[in-house]
């Protein structure tokens, strides 16, 4: 848990996460950020409280069938689902990301996308895409803009672009209006989680042509 996070999630995203209305890739981004950021976790849980009130205050609860309590006790008697093994602390990937990678940083199956930059697309529903990005220390991701919304969160190292400097746990929220060239700090390789609800647009022609193959 880091207290140094400067760039947080928006209320809109947190409420949509609490209501359960985000694509899976965005849920993964929010859950990963909340694992590192108690400020946003408190905000998200206050939006959960709205859901609690909605559940509680419904005008007409629906009767359960006869025997439903007994059926539930039978379910309980079958035992709890097997709990996930506790993970060691201080890892690079917070627990929700580890569930998608199947381990920590060393288990990520990277694919090169050129100039030392690597990515790993995570298995989510197709409404939006989640991927891990590896940017070598000091390197830049090609200049690009976005068709939709792109969220990028730093997991290791740091990067800078035209907007600001982003460290572990910081989220950059980009939309159509932002053209940026994120550049990793020289001190350490940078690993990010990036989520998009539309393909990226690369400003230069060549990367644009490759886009369908790269799925970015």
């Amino acid at each position: 848990m880091s207290n140094d996070i400067k760039h947080h999630l928006t209320d809109d995203l947190l409420m949509a996460y609490a209501a359960g209305n985000l694509p899976e890739a965005f849920d993964l981004m929010v859950a990963t950020h909340l694992s590192l950021c108690d400020h946003c976790r408190a905000r998200a849980e206050s939006f959960d409280a709205v859901g609690g009130c909605v559940l509680q205050e419904q005008d007409s609860p629906t009767s359960m069938s006869d025997g439903s309590l007994a059926a539930t006790m039978a379910l309980i008697a079958q035992g709890a689902p097997i709990a996930k093994p506790a993970r060691p602390g201080c890892t690079v990937l917070p627990a929700p990301l580890q569930d998608y990678v199947g381990g920590d940083v060393n288990d990520i199956k990277w694919r090169s996308i050129g100039m030392g930059v690597k990515q790993a697309i995570l298995p989510t529903t197709s409404e939006a895409t989640a991927r891990l990005l590896f940017i070598p220390a000091g390197a830049a991701v090609p200049d690009h803009s976005h068709n939709g919304m792109e969220l990028t969160m730093v997991l290791q190292g740091a990067f800078s672009d035209e907007v600001d400097h982003f460290g572990r746990g910081d989220v950059e929220i980009a939309d159509e209006s932002l053209h940026h060239t994120p550049t990793a700090d020289i001190s350490e390789d940078c690993i990010c989680l990036a989520v998009t609800d539309a393909p990226l647009k690369f400003t230069k022609l060549m990367p644009r042509l490759f886009q369908p193959f790269l799925r970015i």
Partner: protein, 218 residues
């Protein structure tokens, strides 16, 4: 991506807002706790002790009371979310079974039992109706040695009751929009977070609870 409804944001300090004058709907009950099947309010911290009794003693009587109160609400919630009655019944049973198994994870300084039940029911909806995984943040809980302070528990429950009053006082159309979003109606996915609800105090309370929890864990 999102449309605006109102102008008060989550982060606005509570003190700067005008005093809240909740308009109470007649069906709601004020004053001493009333143990009634469908009208009792969640200001009671009894539900909290019910969950503790399940956690500490596998108390089936406590579970039966929780079931009687919450299972019909979970079922109604899932039907409004697009489920048929048979599936909603099945899911409500599974949600209640999860409540039993996860009783040790419930933190009453961060959520009422209703809020906690909502999060389990929401995740069940995403899993079963949307057939989608639901990534959740890393679990945090007090562990076997530490217990949350009772004053903090009462304060959080009271502030949630104030939130409920504020929701009841919202204009009908706005309250329905919020309800639709929380029922998972995806045509309302672009709801704004700026609802005008007094979430700042609850947020601060939960933040305090998280700080204490981190301290207790270290």
């Amino acid at each position: 991506m999102f449309t605006e409804i109102d102008t008060v944001t989550l982060d606005e300090p509570a003190a700067e807002r005008p005093a809240l004058k909740p308009r109470r709907a007649s069906k709601r009950i004020r004053g001493k706790p009333v143990n009634k099947a469908d009208g009792s309010c969640d200001t009671r911290t009894e539900w909290v002790s019910h969950v503790r009794r399940i956690r500490d003693a596998q108390d089936q009587a406590a579970f039966a009371e929780l079931f009687q109160h919450f299972a019909p609400r979970i079922k109604a919630f899932l039907i409004k979310s697009g489920s048929d009655a048979a599936l909603a019944e099945e899911c409500a049973q599974e949600v209640m079974a999860t409540l039993w198994h996860k009783a040790h994870l419930f933190d009453p300084t961060r959520a009422t039992v209703a809020t906690w039940v909502f999060t389990i029911a929401r995740n069940k909806r995403i899993d079963v109706l949307r057939k989608q995984r639901r990534p959740e943040p890393e679990d945090l809980w007090w562990g076997p040695e530490a217990e949350p302070d009772q004053d903090d528990v009462v304060a959080l429950q009271q502030e949630t009751a104030q939130l409920r009053d504020a929701m009841a006082a919202l204009p009908e159309a706005q309250r329905q929009l919020i309800e639709q979003a929380y029922f998972g109606d995806l045509s309302h996915r672009e709801i704004a977070s700026q609802t005008g609800l007094p979430l700042g105090t609850i947020k601060s309370r939960i933040r305090l609870a998280l700080d204490r929890l981190r301290h207790a864990m270290n």
